[in-house]
């Protein structure tokens, strides 16, 4: 298992060099930030009821929109999500406005999400985002529906309802609607056979630096029936990795580091010794020293793999055994959902593990397979 970890780390660190150019990324981020600020000001200026998702959900419950104000409706829901320890980073700049109370809000509660196959989930997620909903909206829906756990499950459930022609009890946030419109433009760009290389060229032709914006602009033109100044796929598509002299030197240093038998854990050890936070920089520095004929303060491969990694793999194996036992005893996913409700455990996979462990211990479960 440690070899897996070593190989994965090697694969990861060996491709760090593909990282995009920082200056270009930052320039585009500044442009987009200005756009988001403008959008936010516009949304606020419109006098819309801009309320935080949590606040609104609380208001919804207090106003009696939910069948039971105590957070339980039919005894079959999972527990209310605890507030995250940090303000959630994925929440977009402007909070999501919710629709005004309406009759369709009350029956929108979810007893348990309908299990979806991976392709169904993908389709549901696409429908969710295409309708202009975002992560922020998923948090609001989770509170309205009393669903905890993975927000993806909420998005999939909402998407499934949209595909079934149902309406959701909240409206999408303006920023997400704009984002969905951009998605359509970008999809049109790629659907016409254009590539990232084409977008880079178009951005230059149009005197811009934001290749993403170029894709949006180009997609808009294509949807409007206009033609673009370059043919699809006419520009180089391979990633144009910056290979300046310093990068080449860095690559040589990295190669020297790994060729000497040093590992990722060794880099962490050296980072601690040299008081450098960036393990990548440590590898480059160490490689440069090796190329200069110097020796490093630790031997190759001398730093141990974290014990937590080994124990987590053992735990994973035990979990798998328990889940296998659950299914081999004839229980199904629906049984796990039922047990989850009985045990008030929201994570169905955890339920299967708990149930499997009981079966392995010779205990019986409160329901038959």
């Amino acid at each position: 298992m440690n070899q897996d970890a070593d190989q994965l780390r090697e694969a990861f660190v060996a491709h760090e060099y593909l990282a995009p150019d920082a200056a270009e990324v930052l320039a585009v981020a500044h442009v987009r930030a200005r756009r988001y600020r403008r959008r936010r000001r516009a949304a606020q200026g419109a006098g819309g009821a801009v309320l935080g998702a949590g606040l609104v959900a609380s208001s919804v419950a207090a106003a009696g929109w939910l069948p039971n104000n105590n957070g339980r409706h039919d005894g079959s829901t999972v527990s209310l999500a605890a507030p995250p320890p940090l303000p959630n980073p994925s929440v977009s700049a402007s909070p999501s406005p919710l629709a005004s109370p309406s009759p369709f809000a009350s029956p929108a509660l979810v007893s348990s999400p309908t299990p979806l196959s991976s392709s169904q989930q993908e389709a549901a997620l696409n429908a969710y985002f295409a309708a202009g909903y975002d992560y922020d909206n998923a948090l609001a829906l989770a509170q309205l529906w009393h669903m905890s756990g993975d927000p993806t499950t909420v998005k999939a459930e909402a998407g499934r309802r949209l595909l079934a022609g149902q309406t959701l009890p909240i409206t999408p946030s303006p920023s997400a609607v704009a984002s969905a419109a951009e998605d359509t433009d970008v999809s049109a760009f790629f659907a016409a056979g254009y590539t990232y290389g084409d977008a880079v060229t178009l951005a230059k032709l149009w005197n811009g630096s934001d290749t993403y914006q170029a894709k949006i602009d180009a997609g808009k033109k294509l949807i409007a029936g206009e033609t673009l100044p370059i043919a699809p796929g006419s520009q180089p598509t391979a990633p144009t990795v910056v290979t300046g002299s310093s990068d080449s030197a860095g690559t040589a240093d990295l190669n020297a580091y790994f060729a000497a038998g040093y590992t990722y854990e060794d880099a962490l050890g050296l980072a601690s010794l040299w008081k450098i936070a960036d393990a990548y920089q440590v590898k480059v520095d160490a490689g440069a020293k090796l190329l200069a004929g110097q020796t490093l303060p630790i031997a190759p491969g001398s730093q141990p793999t974290p014990a937590a990694e080994i124990s987590s793999e053992a735990a994973a194996s035990a979990d798998e055994n328990a889940v296998n036992k659950f299914f081999s005893a004839g229980y199904t996913y629906d049984d796990a959902v039922t047990l989850g409700k009985m045990w008030t455990v929201g994570d169905t996979y955890q339920v299967k593990i708990d149930a499997g462990q009981k079966l392995l211990a010779g205990q019986t479960l409160p329901i038959k397979p």
Partner: protein
């Protein structure tokens, strides 16, 4: 988290001047795609800039922004996958091969490329778990907190991911052997 330190009480500009290169490397490892990494980090930085005061109040703005990156990646809905089709190498060895500890450097590079290509076939969440566990060196509880799921779900995703990587490798080895015969 030995590769990071806490950097609160800094401006957005100070943050990006010191943290952006590492953030971009993290994003490219997470996404497996240079273009997607660029899009994701641009989007995250744009939003982070708008609400920097809020982020700066967090215990670790660096961890906060990295969390934004992983969330953005997991909820990225643009059709990047269709243009991200990768040709997986023919000669692959199972992950965990006993020879792994004794390979020469050139072979390691080839293997790393093969594994990188196989990683591209994983569902996003499985890939994220592997990156957070093996690249970011987070334990399963921290990953669960980051992904807003139970530690058991993290272990399940990691287990499935490793299994998928091995299966892909075995299937391709079989195809290759068939071709040889």
């Amino acid at each position: 988290m030995a590769t990071r330190d806490v950097c609160s009480g800094v401006t957005f500009e100070q943050f990006t001047s010191t943290r952006l290169p590492g953030l971009l490397r993290y994003a490219v490892v997470l996404t497996g795609d240079r273009e997607l990494a660029q899009d994701v980090v641009q989007e995250v930085l744009a939003r982070a800039q708008v609400k920097w005061r809020q982020i700066d109040r967090a215990d670790s703005p660096d961890a906060y922004v990295r969390r934004m990156v992983v969330n953005e990646y997991l909820s990225w809905r643009r059709s990047w996958a269709v243009r991200n089709v990768r040709a997986v190498g023919e000669r692959l060895e199972p992950i965990g091969d006993a020879r792994a500890m004794h390979r020469d450097h050139a072979q390691s590079v080839v293997d790393a490329d093969d594994l990188w290509a196989r990683l591209a076939t994983l569902p996003r969440k499985q890939r994220a778990v592997l990156v957070l566990r093996y690249y970011e060196q987070l334990d399963d509880v921290a990953i669960a907190d980051l992904l807003d799921c139970a530690p058991a779900t993290v272990r399940s995703n990691a287990s499935k991911a490793l299994k998928n990587l091995r299966l892909t490798s075995e299937q391709q080895t079989r195809v290759h052997e068939k071709e040889l015969t």
